[in-house]
Symmetry: C2
């Protein structure tokens, strides 16, 4: 007799045909990973091409007790796309059409499988862009960005994904299609379902269409590199910029270890003996950019930067940004694997956080190099490690947990922009009490009582209804 999952697979194959449902274990293996590095084999992979097919697939999966795990490009680094309980992976990559671009109404309607960069390329000729620019934007999909509420270097000025989603079409766990949000500017009546679904990591609904708010491309931008002998002076610069009421598009920080790691690789011109560098980008009208850049250079110098460079043209800007852009790749060269952490602290606790990260690295004898969205208080400590070296893996995990705990203690959050997935579930109770978590569990039970949708992610598993 067939197991439930085999019955489920057979029903999917029957509904959509054998060419459109992957059941072979070698094929399924390709969908067992995301960028987190862990592995969970699913029972089947299906590539829906319409909302109606998502509905049908969800209904079949539910009937056969198969969890449904929506997946975009699989760049998730908190485990959000891993099929931890097996089931059906809904690979959304064929729902990849840009449905409409309306510059007058400042809206782009897309299917969830559209890669972020593809929308940016389509918007550029209209003079517009979509604000969220996660590091993965060359591959990650807009559906994934919505599920994870992605950020990026520019969210200092422009906010994260949730600030730019105006409407969603979603499929609920029972197969109902629901449209939330609306095309008007103000909040739609009733409860804010839109905000609830953005960042829910596919645990409450499968996103099948997205209306995104788009922004005019700034006519001018300028990048400033400021080099520091003391991390503290970099932090003073950030505070002084904010106090001066300047709003740069981004303020990125690389610490000493990160500089040492990227410079030999990228030759971005970051001095090897610096304690920190800041990369500050301003955008706007040419006159406003000119004024802001001059003011920021002044502030950086006044705060103790030993060197301040302002990129005058695109080539210089690209060169300055290169060191930031290659940060993950450079860190990945230090060992067989690199663990990427994502935590936040209040902006004015950044120095304490970075110093704590350094001390924790020393304590556990692991190398930690950090790149940070300093304007947002969002840190990404990276820990290179060798997965074969079990002792090092244990020390990496211990250091990693202590880093999260230290940041929460400073008033921060266990995740900034990479989501909870499965990775942050153990650290959620550092930040939330049982009452907060219970509220989230009640919402999950209300919308997905049988835990069909991406179970075991984003929030601690709710108690079952009895």
């Amino acid at each position: 007799m067939w197991s439930t999952s085999e019955q489920g697979r057979a029903a999917l194959v029957q509904a959509f045909g054998p060419r459109r449902v992957l059941t072979d274990s070698r094929d399924r293996m390709a969908y067992a990973y995301d960028a987190t590095g862990e592995k969970y084999l699913c029972d089947a992979v299906f590539f829906p091409e319409s909302t109606a097919e998502v509905v049908e697939a969800v209904r079949i999966a539910r009937r056969h007790g198969l969890p449904v795990v929506p997946r975009g490009a699989g760049t998730n680094i908190s485990g959000g796309t891993l099929p931890v309980r097996g089931g059906l992976v809904l690979a959304m990559n064929r729902m990849n059409r840009i449905l409409a671009i309306d510059p007058d109404d400042r809206i782009a309607a897309v299917q969830p499988g559209v890669p972020n960069i593809q929308l940016q390329q389509a918007l550029a000729p209209h003079g517009f862009f979509f604000a969220a620019d996660p590091g993965s934007h060359r591959v990650s999909t807009l559906g994934g960005n919505v599920a994870e509420n992605s950020g990026g270097p520019h969210c200092l000025k422009y906010g994260v994904t949730t600030n730019h989603v105006r409407g969603l079409e979603v499929v609920l766990a029972d197969g109902e299609v629901v449209r939330v949000g609306g095309r008007t500017q103000e909040a739609p009546p009733g409860y804010d379902l839109l905000a609830l679904l953005v960042g829910a990591e596919g645990t409450l609904a499968v996103v099948t269409a997205i209306d995104l708010h788009i922004l005019p491309l700034p006519p001018s931008r300028r990048t400033i590199l400021a080099v520091y002998d003391q991390l503290e002076a970099a932090a003073t610069t950030v505070s002084a910029i904010v106090a001066a009421r300047l709003v740069p598009a981004s303020i990125e920080l690389l610490d000493r270890g990160m500089i040492a790691c990227v410079e030999p690789f990228a030759h971005a011109g970051y001095p090897a003996d610096a304690d920190a560098v800041l990369l500050i980008e301003v955008d706007g009208t040419p006159a406003a950019v000119e004024r802001a850049a001059a003011r920021i250079a002044e502030i950086a110098t006044g705060s103790g930067a030993r060197q301040v460079r302002s990129a005058r043209d695109q080539a210089e800007q690209d060169a300055l940004w290169l060191g930031r852009r290659v940060a993950y790749g450079a860190a990945a060269r230090l060992s067989a694997h690199v663990w990427t952490q994502d935590v936040t602290v209040p902006r004015d606790r950044m120095v304490e956080a970075l110093r704590a990260v350094e001390a924790i690295g020393r304590k556990w004898r692991v190398q930690v190099v950090t790149v940070a969205h300093a304007g947002d208080g969002n840190l990404h400590p990276l820990i290179p490690f060798n997965p074969q070296d079990h002792d090092e893996v244990e020390r990496m995990k211990a250091a990693d947990h202590e880093i999260v705990a230290a940041c929460v203690k400073l008033g921060g959050s266990v995740t900034g922009e990479h989501g909870v997935g499965i990775d942050k579930l153990p650290t959620l109770p550092l930040q939330y009490g049982p009452a907060e978590l219970e509220v989230m569990q009640r919402l999950k039970r209300a919308l997905d009582p049988d835990e069909v949708l991406n179970p075991g992610k984003a929030i601690p598993a709710p108690r079952r209804n009895v």
Copy 2:
């Protein structure tokens, strides 16, 4: 034998003392109204002074089957603060302390009973302001603003209340205290409870403390009045301003009827024979304001304005705004009462909406005068009427319903910034299908299964759990 409500009252009096719980019917009558004009008598009124007292009051009320209706200044015009099923009115007016103002972190921590204007006055010396400025801001409380997700003329540039709430402390229906959101800039992990609770009209939780994001006061502002012989030219101006990528702080529109109504009262200098006027405010640095104002004057003239005036000083600005500010008062002079509608349409459907409103007024023989946040597509048609004239009341109601239906048909929403309350419940199904409403009802059941908190508001009453 006592009724349940009498037992509940007695328990409240016993817990908090007879001086702090109003039970006399004359006292309770003062809390039977909000600005909507309907009347529902509650069983008791209590003025909590701490979160712990809110917890205790909610627990007592729940135990005795008394609904709990949180209330601020009672300026609600959709019925959100009316005790439609009796019960306990929680008058939050004594929880009225500003707890902290932190300009560096751009945060103000307040209790819910603080009037909006009081926070603005406290922020001004620091050079900051809170973005939401509903028409009621001189009296309405920040707790009420959060519950209704209030807007105001400046939400074109700055967004509505939900865009500026960073954290909430709330009391749930079971008396649990929960803190949602956080002081860091990025979205906290898990589901976005903050967005869910803002605008929920007190139906999911009672707000007991609020962390608000505050903004630097713009150093300069300028108001431009543009006068039109044709409404269409005013709409063209709005579109052209947006297409030119200018973001005024506000774009307000008064239609012919509204001009005729305010001008004899306020002498704001709006020509009596104009078909529409726009009041456009720009803010920012003096140089940016100068440039934007010049460009907007050019655009208005180019779009067919017969007259464009730019206010050079504060006195001139105040004079131009006077006509807008007195709009409700002026409309209220036309009859014994005035009904205030609040609907939205996509910005580019504003002319069609206003023409539809005029036609509906003619059809039902009621006077309709309209003021609109034209940049947001948010209309406030006002219908003066005599509550003693039952035929006129019926015609007013019919016209009102048709106005909402017409706007929804144009792609709009049944409410812009005044909430659903009880007033918009009958029109919600124009905008939402049963699936959308069912999702909201499931959330309500999940957090408040016994319908303790402000029952019968914001969403259609959920089916009871069985």
